[in-house]
Amino acid sequence: MPDDGEWECFERDGAVACLGGEAAAAVVGGRRDEAWICGVRRTHADAGGPASAPARVCVDLAPDRPDDAGFGQCAIAHRPAGARQICTPSKTTSLGASCGGAGGATCPPGAACVTSVCVPARVPLGECWQDTDCAEGQACVFATCARRS
């Protein structure tokens, strides 16, 4: 998590995106994790709902994984109470995986093959958490709105 606050996260294509950031009540906050790139979530004019502080979105391009989980896909499972990180090895190419070359592995959408490693095609902005945060015809890729491919 980006800090000690309240976050809701998921991992896709090797990057973890978290939404929230409300301060945890009665918790002495620690240092922010420098590995996260954070921004403010885009809001829609018709969003409605109760007034609250703009939600933050943070993305970690190289998330920690439980010991021995291997390099693969992780899901942060949300149960009624609490979250558990569950990682399952996967052959799907994701950020940080080798690409190009003889194997010819293709990077996931929104990623580019740079020096044989999949990296985000753009520096993440932390502006979206899901596709509906973005304009029509755009998708949320690595917490950044991009034209739908």
């Binding site: 090797g14 620690g30 390099f71 020096t115």
Partner: protein, 663 residues
């Protein structure tokens, strides 16, 4: 792509590749992790000594050995009190090994149950090693020890719940959850001494019969919960689950291991909604904008929120012992798998420092940080807050007692139980009407505007004027003692009342609302009027324990009895009441004057009875303003049974003035 973007992309490629890809190691790294708290890897030795290029120690819990380039062969590591470990390396590798203790003993046996035998068995953590002989001692909590011949197996018998409750002498409800504090946990501390070769070691084992219970029906999953009475049944929830109930010594024991919300029903069809949950699974978004934002802001600075931090950074003294303090300065019951701090620390193999260590606090992982300090869930959790009809339970003294009832050091609740405050609402008539405003915690909080009026069921019994009346963990600027700041009216000599302001709300003369009313609860009107006793500490100067952060007993002042020691700076002996001419004490004079007022018809019986002064009286309507004022002065002194101690000079002057007016 701009040049800047290209540079960033290249940097990202490096960062992502570094963290995401598993590259083949070029050296041998052997990571050793301490498998239990008593293993100190800082004392580890290895052979061959020349095999290791660098050794990186992270506290006593982790040791990272980087072997010399090109080394191939066996490496063996020895640590005092731990099993030796060895490994063969034939190529570059990163390997992790857990180091087990030579003698494996539980540090805690939590929630062992009351009135039953508990067996503790020492085993060897090493496959090949034999156990040393062990000597056992009970260091606190009397229990006969039954030790087997080889010394590796010991049996203790925990006390019964009835016995510990009777010993505590607590005023308890007769229905619902049995509140359990450290005083009533049935704790037995054992010491195991064993020798390994020439070295010897001592290990402490805590056997705890019950888990602490606030009495609020939101309970940490894992430990036993006890209910008063038998005949309880559990209704299945929507998933068909229901907690197992068993009868034990006149109580019902509830198995809380299944998280969720359940309804328990007693033989009279009374329902008790309970919730079981883990500390680490509760969201902490209580202070979000739509909910308790104001409370969230004030508790940010609360002494309770910061207590563990203050301890670790040394603000509570160099003798702060985090491993000891954590039972009350963090969430959870040590030894119980409840998602509390100690449980999570065990999962993370995080060993608490032996003394204050600011770096340790700064480096705490998120999960530990969120369960450190005395946060919302310490009182309101760990599961979701109870249904609205059970929220009154947060006002019970038993909520605070889970930490502040741990004699001999923490005597707050024990002292309070000996005071009249604990039984202020023992009779039903004190819980209703205007009496409730000063005789019940809920009524008091409603009267001062701190909380909405709430109904408390009759079966709750007497709650007294409990901790929550005078202390507010949520309040802003309430200081380390969290004493509630109350807006009061009245003249108290212009002196700042300090902590006494909360006392004065009830003891500062109430219900002088009409011309005919007589003053009641007048103690502070005399004590805090100009005079020798109107000090900066106000009421607490005499009715509280002396300020001493190093006192052996904390909270002793919560008996609120006047402390003779507080007289010493000015009085060589405990002062006796001055006897006026005619052998009249102030109390005698006040009573005699009042009798004469009754005879003259200036005071009349108003009907009804007040518990403070017997028959309820009022000023006669025939009394003119000057006589009415004289009557009030007499009543003010008469109502304060300690008038002579509170302010003899003022009391005498009031009676003199009244006598002159009545002549």
């Amino acid at each position: 792509m701009t040049r800047r973007d290209a540079a960033l992309m290249s940097a990202l490629a490096g960062a992502v590749a570094f963290a995401g890809c598993r590259e083949e190691p070029s050296t041998i790294t052997w990571v050793l992790r301490a498998g239990s708290a008593e293993i100190d890897l800082r004392r580890a030795r290895w052979e061959p000594a020349g095999a290791v290029r660098t050794a990186r120690r992270i506290g006593g819990a982790r040791l990272e050995l980087e072997l010399r380039p090109g080394f191939r062969g066996d490496v063996r590591v020895e640590t005092e009190g731990a099993c030796s470990v060895s490994a063969t390396f034939d190529r570059p590798d990163v390997r992790t090994t857990d180091v087990a203790a030579r003698v494996v003993l539980p540090e805690w046996v939590a929630g062992a149950g009351y009135d039953r035998d508990v067996e503790i068995v020492a085993t060897s953590g090493c496959a090949e090693a034999a156990l040393p002989s062990i000597e056992w001692h009970v260091t606190s909590g009397a229990s006969p020890l039954d030790v087997t011949d080889d010394g590796h197996r010991v049996r203790v018998h925990t006390p019964s719940l009835q016995a510990v409750l009777a010993t505590a002498g607590a005023s308890l409800p007769s229905w619902g959850i049995v509140p359990i504090s450290p005083r009533t946990q049935g704790r037995i501390t054992l010491e195991a001494r064993f020798a390994v070769g020439s070295a010897s070691a001592t290990r402490t084992v805590e056997v705890v019969a019950g888990s602490r219970a606030t009495g609020v029906p939101t309970v940490a999953a894992g430990g036993p919960l006890y209910l008063f009475g038998e005949g309880w049944t559990a209704q299945p929830d929507v998933h068909g689950r229901a907690p197992a109930l068993s009868s034990t010594g006149g109580f019902t024991q509830v198995d809380t291991r299944t998280p969720g919300r359940f309804v328990l029903v007693d033989s009279a069809s009374r329902r008790l909604g309970v919730r079981f949950g883990r500390y680490d699974e509760m969201p902490l978004d209580c202070s979000r904008a739509e909910c308790h934002r104001d409370v969230g802001q004030t508790i940010e600075a609360s002494a309770m929120t910061h207590v563990f931090e203050r301890g670790l950074v040394g603000a509570l003294g160099d003798d702060y012992r985090p491993a000891c303090a954590v039972a009350c300065h963090a969430l959870g019951e040590p030894g119980q798998d409840d998602g509390g701090f100690v449980h999570l620390a065990r999962i993370f193999s995080a060993r608490l420092p032996a003394a204050p260590d600011a770096d340790w606090f700064a480096e705490m992982p998120r999960a530990l940080r969120r369960t450190s300090g005395v946060g919302c869930m310490a009182c309101h959790g760990p599961a979701a807050i109870p249904e609205s009809d059970a929220r009154w339970s947060i006002l019970r003294a038993s909520v605070c007692a889970t930490c502040h009832d741990a004699p001999p050091k923490y005597g707050h609740v024990a002292a309070w139980q000996s005071s009249a405050m604990a039984t202020s609402d023992r009779t039903p008539e004190t819980r209703v009407g205007e009496c409730a405003a000063c005789h019940t915690t809920a009524g008091f909080l409603a009267a001062i505007g701190a909380r909405k009026a709430i109904a408390i069921p009759a079966e709750a019994g007497a709650l007294g004027i409990s901790c929550a009346a005078c202390h507010s963990p949520h309040a802003k600027d309430s200081g380390v003692s969290l004493v509630r700041v109350v807006a009061i009216q009245g003249d108290f000599g212009g002196k700042p009342l300090g902590s006494s302001v909360v006392c004065v709300a009830c003891h500062g003369g109430r219900a002088v609302a009409s011309k005919s009313d007589l003053p009641r609860a007048t103690a502070a009107l005399l004590a805090l009027a100009p005079g020798p006793h109107a000090t900066d500490r106000g009421c607490l100067a005499c009715h509280g324990a002396p300020r001493d952060p190093k006192a052996s007993v904390h909270g002793a002042g919560h008996a609120f009895k006047a402390n003779p020691a507080s007289c010493r700076p000015c009085h060589t002996d405990t002062p006796k009441e001055h006897v006026d001419a005619g052998s009249q004490t102030i109390a005698h004079r006040a009573n005699a004057l009042f009798e004469s007022l009754l005879r003259r018809g200036l005071v009349v019986a108003a009907g009804g009875v007040t518990p403070h002064s017997g028959t309820s009286y009022a000023i006669a309507t025939t009394a003119d303003a000057a006589l009415a004022e004289a009557v009030r002065k007499v009543a003010l002194v008469r109502d304060d049974r300690a008038a002579a101690s509170h302010n003899a000079a003022r009391a005498r002057a009031l009676l003199d003035e009244a006598e002159r007016a009545l002549r």
